[in-house]
């Protein structure tokens, strides 16, 4: 069986920030229908990679090619909410993306429903707890029906209960067919959410392994050191 071309092919990406090579000739193919967790030590380039794939940072060398027109979204470690109600934050994103006015309210309400925020849809978004704001960020991204969703340490500033809720929502989004590409510093979370692990070191892809194999026996020396806790990481 021949695999279809990757949804996103990144070739030899180099990103220089403040004189530092944050990405150093990195290549990565993202096939449709998988859940990828990117791991790596602190400063390996995980956040820069996600931002570059999402189009927020222009690479100084290399290419990004998408197989077809697509919608994408990103959820950050600290979501930024506008000074308006929770549901209005979602309808705002819909309006920016050209969704007709008469569809927005229903679509926003159903996104809030799915992340468990329907009862507090009218509350000012900034008055919500950290975990609620992150679920709102997920609802806002989900409402856009992205083909691919990037998440950069989405639970890093949350307590365990709120993290579990966010994980549940990420799983549900993936189950509905959105391609997930995320970073985390939670190995347990990586194990639960990933199909495959991409391991970065010094701005390059060192290995890419199915999740069970990675945690049993990673292929690279860097990843084994990382799993033994001998590489510094956040």
């Amino acid at each position: 069986m021949v695999e279809s071309p990757p949804l996103l092919a990144a070739r030899d990406l180099t990103v220089v920030l403040g004189g530092v090579k944050a990405l150093d000739g990195l290549s990565l193919d993202l096939m449709a229908g998988r859940r990828t967790v990117i791991l790596g030590a602190n400063g390996a380039g995980k956040s820069v990679l996600l931002r570059t794939l999402h189009g927020l940072i222009a690479p100084s060398a290399g290419t990004l090619s998408w197989a077809r027109p697509h919608r994408q979204a990103m959820v950050f470690q600290r979501p930024v909410m506008l000074r308006r109600s929770a549901i209005d934050n979602v309808t705002y994103a819909l309006s920016v993306n050209g969704i007709p006015a008469k569809e927005r309210a229903a679509r926003a309400a159903s996104a809030l429903e799915r992340v468990g925020l329907a009862p507090i849809a009218e509350r000012p978004a900034r008055a919500l707890s950290g975990g609620e704001q992150q679920r709102l960020a997920l609802a806002r991204a989900w409402a856009l029906k992205p083909e691919i969703l990037f998440l950069d340490e989405p639970t890093a500033s949350l307590d365990p209960g709120a993290s579990a809720e966010v994980e549940r929502v990420i799983s549900a989004i993936a189950d509905e067919g959105t391609r997930i590409v995320m970073t985390t510093h939670h190995l347990g979370q990586a194990r639960r959410l990933a199909d495959e692990i991409v391991f970065l070191h010094a701005g390059r892809t060192v290995e890419r392994t199915p999740v069970a194999d990675f945690f049993r026996q990673p292929a690279s020396k860097e990843a084994s050191l990382f799993l033994k806790g001998e590489l510094p990481w956040t």
């Binding site: 927020l56 979204a73 950050f76 000074r83 008055a127 806002r140």
Partner: protein
């Protein structure tokens, strides 16, 4: 000493008895200053936000022009408006010199740069926090302008109130373009200047009381608004 005391008593009688001449001057002052604040805001708010997020040719020139206007003594602004509106000036045919409209024009020209400078600062700060998230949602810089203005609405309203205070307390420019004509263009500040020079202290003092009261109320409103918005939106 006794003279000042007697004047204070007479002034209080004027305020207390809602003296018609006094009331007319106060009403005209508030009306013109409000119009100038609104006009100055209509120009200054979008200009400030545009300069904060925009990348357009002439951006630097706009910043320099705004800073120059900000630093210009108000009598010079008055003089410029006078020259524009005087019979030989480019707008002389409009016949606006020594009318309330001329006062509003001069006041607006004083208010707009203040509002623009404060709005620019506010929007630049907000943009720093929002840029990545809004760009990720697909928001263009042009689309970000109304979004930032709306999100900063409480602190910007404070800015507009500051503009109102500035308009209400202006003397020189208003004297030059308005002419302090009794019943037509006489406002609180010019009346105070005139009555003081004529030695009629009670009316000057009474107007002074009212002006202080107006400034106090405006500042209290600004403060209350800020407190309320922090409580509601964080």
């Amino acid at each position: 000493m006794f003279e000042i005391f007697a004047s204070l008593q007479a002034a209080w009688a004027l305020v207390n008895g809602a003296d018609p001449a006094l009331a007319r001057i106060v009403a005209l002052s508030l009306e013109l200053s409000l119009a100038a604040a609104l006009l100055g805001a209509a120009i200054g708010l979008p200009l400030g936000a545009l300069v904060a997020v925009g990348r357009f040719p002439g951006r630097r020139a706009v910043i320099v022009a705004l800073n120059a206007l900000l630093g210009l003594p108000s009598v010079v602004v008055g003089l410029l408006v006078y020259l524009m509106l005087s019979r030989a000036g480019p707008l002389g045919s409009w016949g606006l010199l020594f009318t309330p409209t001329a006062i509003v024009m001069a006041q607006s020209l004083l208010v707009a740069p203040i509002v623009a400078a404060l709005a620019r600062q506010t929007c630049e700060d907000a943009w720093r926090d929002y840029e990545e998230q809004l760009t990720s949602l697909g928001v263009s810089r042009a689309r970000a302008v109304p979004t930032l203005l709306w999100d900063a609405r409480y602190s910007l309203l404070t800015t507009v109130l500051a503009g109102f205070g500035r308009a209400a307390s202006e003397v020189g420019a208003v004297m030059i373009v308005g002419g302090n004509i009794d019943g037509v263009t006489r406002v609180m500040t010019t009346a105070i200047a005139l009555e003081t020079s004529k030695g009629d202290l009670p009316l000057a003092l009474a107007l002074g009381f009212v002006l202080i009261l107006v400034v106090l109320v405006v500042n209290a409103a600004a403060y209350g608004l800020r407190e309320w918005s922090v409580r509601r939106h964080g």
